[in-house]
Amino acid sequence: MSDTKQIGVTTVRKEAWDKVTGAAKYTGDTITTGTFHGKILTSTCAHGLIKSLNIEKAKRSKGVQAIITGEYLPALTGSIIKDHPPIARNKVRYFGEPVALVVANTEQEASMGVNLIEVEYEPLPVVNSISDALKPNATLVHEHLGTYYCPDATVYPKAHTNMADQVKIRKGNIELGWAESEIVVETTINLPGSDHLSIETRVAKAEILPSGIVNIYTSSQGPFAVKEEISKNYQIPEGNVVVHTPLVGGGFGGKAAIQLEPLVYLASFAVGGKMVVLSMTREEDIMTSPSKISTEGIIKLGATKEGIIKALECVYYVDCGAYTDTGPRMAKSIAIDCSGPYNIENILCDSISVYTNHGYSTSFRGFGHTASTFGIERAIEKLAKKLNMDPFDIRMKNAITEGNTSPTQEKITFSNAGNLVACMQKLKEIINWDEGNIRQTEKGTIIAKGISSFWKTSNSPTNASSGVILTLNDDGSLNLNFGAVEIGPGMKTTAAQILAERLKMDISSIHVFMDVNTQLSPKHWKTVASMTTFMIGNAVLGAANDFISQLKEIGGIALECSQDELEVANQKVFISHRPDIFISFKDLVHGYQYTSGMSIYGQIIAKGSYIMSRLTPLDRETGKGKPAVSWTVGAQAVEIEYNPKYYSYRLLRAASVIDAGKVINPKAARGVVMGGMSMGLGIATREEFIYDPKAVLSNTSLRTYKLLRFGENPKYAVEFVETPQIDGPFGARGVAEHGILGIPAAFANAISLAADDEFNDLPVSHETIWKKKTGGKYDTL
């Protein structure tokens, strides 16, 4: 291969054949005899004191090895606020919360043990909504809020309230903004909680070896975070905690949370260090494990008659559920991008994290941006309608571009954000916008299109980092080792492509360490935030550069020339003007051997690392600061067919145009975007948690928590714009989450147009439309 070109070329993922033969191993697939099984007793009460908990009968049940409750090695967990006991202690705060954990020889015996535990609750009033949480004299979910330790110094829980945090954005002069506004609209939105619903439910195992090593096997997006948390919570030297993560069966943010790992550690500790596995049933995965936040928002926009937006005032309430986990960070995300990808000079935004007695939440694909996009896009749609402007025109007019500033007052460039106008123009063509956005068919149905723009940035710690190690095999092929988890998007292959491109070699000679072992792989922050390509990619480039310089150093000796004359390609080091004079990688595996047999240099081991550049915390009062290195912008559309007779609709088409900077693996990128769009349609049309008046979750199985199935999706169009991100690997920026972001808004815009009403609460079912249009009372007249 002389003209290697690995970037922008569709590349079959490295583990593809393992995944179509059943050979691919996920955490639950390594089944060893002698492993004990854990089973959780979950709370049937959403808020109550644990009056009594009798485990005596269960202890004597066949096969039961240990039963642990909240009193066992109690320690609070939480990455932002340490508010969360792994097993409820004294009181329960949500339906489905772990109350006890039974460890037995088999899963069946553990279940039998669970069934014998007797527990009595003294119910407390439930905090069943954001408004319940915020009303005066509200029941408190956490009486001791204010005393909790906060590992993140930039979170401000308010004692004696249900408010976990408040993020403020104060940009420009909001009074001036209103003064300049000739027209004002206000929109209230409501997005309920919902589930990640990875098809692999969460599962973890732990053993404690006599040497002190704690092995944790877990289906996680953050094995290094698990290592840190277990070490800190249970005072184990961090190096003794080894976290192993093989392939993960879908994450979508849900497996970035740390939940089962402390439980299996405690369980193993209780049985003398033996291996204990805990795998969630689907019902537990939905009700006990963390889920997506629910969000309410009030968005007020002011603009001139020409449609130039002058002011944005918005407040968002994020329902974190019973424990915060990363909830406050999603509230922060909503705030920092509250303007959407629009240039708004005067902004006032409050984003408030709230405790309720709902299931607790964690990061979810889009990290709050689906909600913020929904808010701003529904408001802009209303503005366009009021101004009688074309929905595209108003967005184009206000599109953010080089020289503008973000809500946190960061300077926008084409490199750090991409080109939104280019995305919108492309989208306009794809969906034939010029033919009109609404028309009636002969059948009496209405076909309508809705659009939405979006932007998203990451929200990492300011010191989030990544690393890569390269080693050589005897045949001159390379081993690529890094700490990002393969959760589905094909990250391991993307990294191999970047390496192959930089080294100008064939990707088949690059072997990727598919699993993550925190003892062997260099640390990677977490496989989240669509930042993996960017962070790992940059670390790969660093390692490749290190590798090349080592090769040149040794090559200069081998080829008896100056290093400056050397080049590396096709697994060879050669003299650039005399390619016939070369030495192959395979002859440099153990360093260089002179004809005499004497050897020098030793193995080549190359390394690369990356750390987020120049990030700062936000100012508490104004939100000013630099939360992330870049944004990704895009534009999306949904076309539906609405039947006014039945108040029903069908999804016809959905389109996305995203500025990816540089697309590395086209078919894979398209697939990830389509998957995100599909999930967005789920959120728009059917996915929601339904709580009864006692805050008991009513839909805990796939019979009642519905997902899109085969044949229910629209026809998809996915296109990319490539405005390079200068500091990204080959110009690439993140696209993994983005497919979801604008779809609910685009859908709501379409259905609102078609049904001539405002749909600001998701999801929208046929009954929702019927209720809205008729008042929800069957009328026989």
């Binding site: 899963e107 069946q108 279940s111 039998m112 069934n115 049933t281 019902e283 007779k645 039945y646 049309t685 059917r686 339904i690 009513s698 839909n699 019979r703 009642t704 519905k706 899109l708 199935r709 044949g711 229910e712 079912s765 046929h766 009954e767 019927w770 209720k771 008729t774 929800g776 009372k777 069957y778 026989t780």
Partner: protein, 278 residues
Amino acid sequence: MIPFDFEYYKPDTVEEAHKLYTQLNLKGKKPIYYGGGTEFISMARMNNRYAGAVIDIKGIPECNVNKIEKGKLVMGSAVTLTKIAESNLFPLLGYISRRIADHTIQGKITLGGNLLGTIIYKETMLPLLLTECQLVIYGRDGNRIVNIIDIYDRGLNLNEGEVLVQITIDEKYLTLPYRHVKRTKLEKIDYPLITMAAIKDGDNISVAFSGLYQYPIRSLEVERLLNDSKLPKKKKVLQIVNNLGIEVLDDIGGSSEFRKFIMEDMLNQVIEKLQEVC
């Protein structure tokens, strides 16, 4: 994972099955007859169902019959929904079967299982109610043949230990004009908000519903109104819907009011497609 143990028996004859049941019951084993087992397994898993012994009836030849014989369609209780759909001996029942659960599970759910399950929809009951079928039930005194009408009251009321062996339907019903409509909250694979089945025998329309109440229903009062030629279409539909009572289901799938709205359209469809065509 089923959180308890049980004994498994797969008898070859109905007699054997019944005898086993009686013996196991006496021993306090809480036996159940087992067809496809889909409901038993999913409920047992959640501690909502217990059995100390299961008697799998799929090995009994009579329970696997699916043929037309002497002017009657004879279907064994262990015949799967897939077999019913693929054989298409009774198209209305075939259509209904194809819309229960999903295609893969239809290969496991049996007719008897759907009819006798705890699930409130039991959609295969609808065509049976409409065709006034007969049931072959094996009990203490051997086989008895009963009209469905005589033992249907919100469900098939079999006596303790009785086995549902076969369902027989007069052949004349199999080719009657029919209508089947299932509407769900949003998607195809879901429980019904309402499933309606209707047939037309001569000028007379019979209609039955699932999802309307806690149990499948064929209401003679509804049919009387529907077949009343003196009532204008709009009036009869409204009278029917207005007289559904307070029992109309109201759950997370849909409100009772929305169910009524859907019901109205279903009745209109029946009238348009079955009554107004000659």
